[in-house]
């Protein structure tokens, strides 16, 4: 619990030598505050894994599904995403499936993607 409190008070910085996969701040259900997600397809492509293998190997990472229209609606509200760029992913092209699969943005997943994570206290 102490660790969680500390985490809540700190900024997390992700560092990578490769361009970062886009992350999206989304509310995936009404009972839950918005938080950050990757498109599952982006993560699988970067790791060169199939969905089946990823889920078998890393069952603890949270996967969620959102209707595509709802995903696009929430992304369009962001002031810090360029809209055309945000909708570039093949998964979001017209004619693709009507839902998008997401994977929760968390430090352990970032490390798997090759990023380093650092914390900095707000008050520092």
């Amino acid at each position: 619990q102490e660790e969680e409190e500390q985490e809540a008070d700190n900024f997390m910085f992700e560092f990578s030598d490769k361009p970062l996969l886009p992350s999206y701040n989304l509310q995936v259900s009404v009972s839950r505050a918005p938080c950050n997600w990757f498109l599952f397809s982006d993560v699988l492509k970067r790791l060169k894994l199939s969905s089946r293998i990823f889920q078998a190997r890393f069952p603890h990472f949270e996967i969620a599904t959102l209707p595509k229209a709802e995903f696009q609606r929430q992304v369009s509200l962001s002031q810090v995403l360029a809209q055309d760029e945000a909708l570039e992913s093949p998964e979001l092209a017209p004619g693709a499936a009507e839902t998008v699969e997401l994977v929760h943005y968390e430090p352990e997943l970032l490390q798997l993607l090759g990023s380093a994570v650092e914390y900095e206290a707000w008050s520092s």
């Binding site: 008070d9 030598d17 701040n25």
Partner: protein, 99 residues
Amino acid sequence: HYFRYDEHVSLCLEKQSSSKDKSKAVLQHKYVRCSVRAQIRHLRRVLCHRLGLPPQHVQILFNNEPLPDHMTMKQLWLSRWFGKPAPLLLHYSIKDKRR
């Protein structure tokens, strides 16, 4: 504070080339993501840490203009980068110790 629920910005940090700067410190991981509520001072401290420099030795610039310590990433994005694709391009310079 619960910063981990915050929206993110994605940055790319390039070293400002200067003939006066003799330091060899260059950031290996130049793509950075953080909360929209993080401030320039937080980014500066994290950079110093990663570059193995004492605090206050790094300056963060946008278009050759040093950015104020208390500016948040959201203010930075909306005032300098609104509508542009990620990542936001920043420069950093390492201060000359003799000054």
